[in-house]
């Protein structure tokens, strides 16, 4: 177990290092000029001034030197300073994190509840039409762009019925619509994979045993099938949390909320490369951490699994899941 743990952590560290290297390669090795952006795009900047800015930013040094220097800084928790505001990237991101975490967290809870509810209800129900209606919801939820979901919710709940504020700051009421928006896609994904996994589990012997002992359909589904079917769904966790992070970017723009999304959008438009890199690294860190946690949880929840065997992303459900977030995280 200890060896497994160390191996997984090392693997995670490797992925993080590689993500850092990849983002450095994309952001700094490709032909673009961060100095020109920092100096401003006005024509009044003389070549001498530009060279000065370049020197101050360390951009006139060899690429390998820049890389090692920046990597050393990153290891000490220093990701440089924002080109726009001059603020430290780490404190900029850290400051923007709480409102984003609130939305993403509420969205995750809502998504798990909705997705599980959908899967359980479609398994328990004897009515064919209800099952089919329920199972047709996930494809719909996956197909609607989240910005459209947000705008629809705004249109109905804020402008038509006046139930929730249109601008999402201030208290729990402002959190409802953004959280609902962000939850739609993960909920669809959870519902889809869980329903499939539950219908697979229904054919197993222990279900017959439970039924023979007199358990009703609800008890069989919730007490027995759901517990076993939840395991494969757990492998989606990394993907889902990554999706929540990028979902937050869109949601914060739709609802004009402060947070990581606003920062990211601003940084990309202003080509504020250190901030962009910081957000990308945060995404990778979250993904790696969640997957590590899932791996460990798996060992605890399913003792049958020999150490290190997992089938993430395999099989039709996993494959679809991988693609479902290909475009947005």
């Amino acid at each position: 177990m200890a060896r497994f743990l160390v191996g997984r952590v090392l693997q995670g560290v490797f992925v993080l290092w590689a993500a850092y290297t990849l983002s450095f390669a994309v952001l700094y090795a490709l032909p673009s000029d961060p100095a020109a952006i920092a100096a401003g795009t006005t024509n009044s900047v003389t070549p001498e001034q530009l060279a000065e800015v370049r020197h101050a930013m360390g951009l006139d040094r060899p690429l390998a030197e820049q890389y090692l220097d920046k990597l050393g800084g990153a290891l000490h928790g220093d990701l440089g300073r924002s080109v726009q505001s001059g603020e430290r990237v780490t404190s900029l991101i850290g400051g923007a994190l709480p409102p984003t975490l609130a939305v993403a967290g509420a969205g995750l809870v809502l998504a798990v509840l909705l997705g599980t509810g959908l899967a359980v209800l479609s398994t328990v129900t004897g009515a064919r039409w209800l099952r089919q209606a329920l199972l047709s919801l996930p494809p719909l939820g996956v197909a609607i762009p989240s910005f459209v979901v947000g705008l629809l919710l705004l249109q109905w709940f804020s402008f038509t019925w006046n139930l929730f504020p249109a601008i999402g700051e201030g208290g729990w009421r402002g959190l409802v619509l953004p959280a609902a928006t962000i939850a739609v896609q993960p909920a669809a994904l959870i519902g889809q994979v869980l329903a499939k996994s539950m219908s697979d589990e229904l054919g197993k012997d222990y279900v017959d045993v439970a039924r023979a002992k007199g358990a009703g359909p609800f008890r069989v589904t919730v007490r027995h099938v759901l517990r076993n079917a939840a395991l494969p769904t757990l492998t989606l966790a990394g993907l889902l949390v990554g999706g929540l992070l990028t979902g937050a970017i869109v949601v914060e723009v739709v609802f004009s909320r402060n947070g990581l999304g606003q920062i990211t959008q601003g940084a990309v438009s202003a080509e504020d490369l250190p901030v962009v890199q910081g957000v990308v690294l945060l995404g990778a860190l979250v993904f790696v951490t969640v997957n590590l946690a899932v791996d460990l949880l798996y060992q605890v929840l399913d003792p049958r699994l020999a150490v290190g065997r997992r089938s993430a992303g395999r099989g039709p459900a996993g494959r679809f899941a991988l693609f479902t977030f290909a475009g947005r995280g």
């Binding site: 993500a19 459209v148 991988l322």
Partner: protein
């Protein structure tokens, strides 16, 4: 000259001889036509995808008017018979704009699909066929690409590639899709490489390039083709999302995502400006996913 090449001249060695293949194709076609009649949802999805593609190639067929023609007499009018999608704040017909926007969104999504599919397939093929060190290196790269949420990866690329061009947005979304295609392709190549005919070709002394191009590749593409439409739907979502965030086509150039974005300010008063183009995006993705699932089921049934 290898043993297999001696046994059968190259030209006659294709796995499916002509007439039988045609018969099989005709049978499959008839079967799918019958299936379509029994499945109106799938038929509608196919029809919608076809319509959208036609709109992208020849928008004039559906919307002969100039999408940018300003008519201040009919500003912010609700959908009506003469303006099916209503009009925007300058009196431009939103239906015309949406139809002409197809010509920006769809090519960008197609580019994204081509990039994701092409690069992903090549990487997956190399990893699965060469095994060993190349496999290790490529799959670690794929792991890294997967560890960065797709939209963030695309945003990172967009911040360097520059903004305001749908082609760059398509490219960025395509790169973000490489990793998952590579995984699917590699798994399939590993499966196919175990097959008897690949072993036979190898034992027969065929060069490895020949084994890959003639035997492994054609037989591994199946699942990847199925994923093409799924990927296309995802690419539409990605492209419109980036445009919505303001990194794609800039107004007044009509594009689905930027149409939704520019209608956002009128949500309380003129809902159609955002909701109708948004609905078009959702319908298109839904239809593409539906058709893709049907292909997948077809393959599953055939095997």
């Amino acid at each position: 000259m290898s043993v297999t090449d001696l046994a059968l001249p190259a030209g006659e060695r294709s796995p499916e001889p002509g007439p039988a293949a045609w018969r099989g194709f005709r049978k499959a076609l008839l079967r799918s036509l019958a299936g379509l009649l029994r499945n109106p949802g799938l038929a509608l999805s196919l029809l919608w995808v076809a319509l959208v593609i036609v709109a992208a190639v020849a928008p004039g067929l559906f919307a002969p008017g100039d999408p940018l023609a300003v008519d201040t007499a009919v500003r912010l009018q609700a959908p009506s018979f003469s303006h099916p999608f209503g009009t925007d704040r300058l009196g431009r017909d939103l239906f015309d704009e949406t139809v002409h926007g197809t010509g920006r969104t769809l090519p960008a999504a197609a580019l994204a699909t081509a990039v994701g599919l092409g690069a992903g397939s090549v990487l997956g093929l190399l990893a699965g066929f060469l095994r060993g060190l190349p496999d290790l290196v490529i799959m670690r790269l794929v792991d890294v690409l997967l560890s960065i949420p797709g939209l963030l990866l695309a945003l990172m690329l967009v911040s360097v590639l520059g903004k305001g061009s749908t082609a760059d947005v398509g490219l960025a979304i395509g790169v973000a899709a490489i990793a998952s295609t590579a995984r699917v392709m590699r798994a399939e190549v590993l499966r196919v490489s175990e097959s008897g005919f690949v072993e036979a070709a190898r034992t027969g002394g065929a060069r490895w390039t020949r084994v890959v191009l003639r035997h492994v590749l054609p037989n591994s593409m199946g699942p990847v083709w199925v994923l093409t439409l799924l990927l296309f739907g995802e690419a539409i979502l990605g492209v419109t999302t980036l445009s919505f965030l303001g990194f794609g086509a800039q107004p007044p150039t009509p594009e689905w995502g930027s149409l939704v974005s520019s209608g956002r300010d009128f949500l309380g008063s003129a809902w159609w400006l955002s909701i109708l183009p948004g609905a078009v995006v959702a319908l298109t993705v839904l239809a593409a996913n539906r058709v893709s699932r049907a292909f997948d089921a077809e393959r599953g049934g055939a095997r």
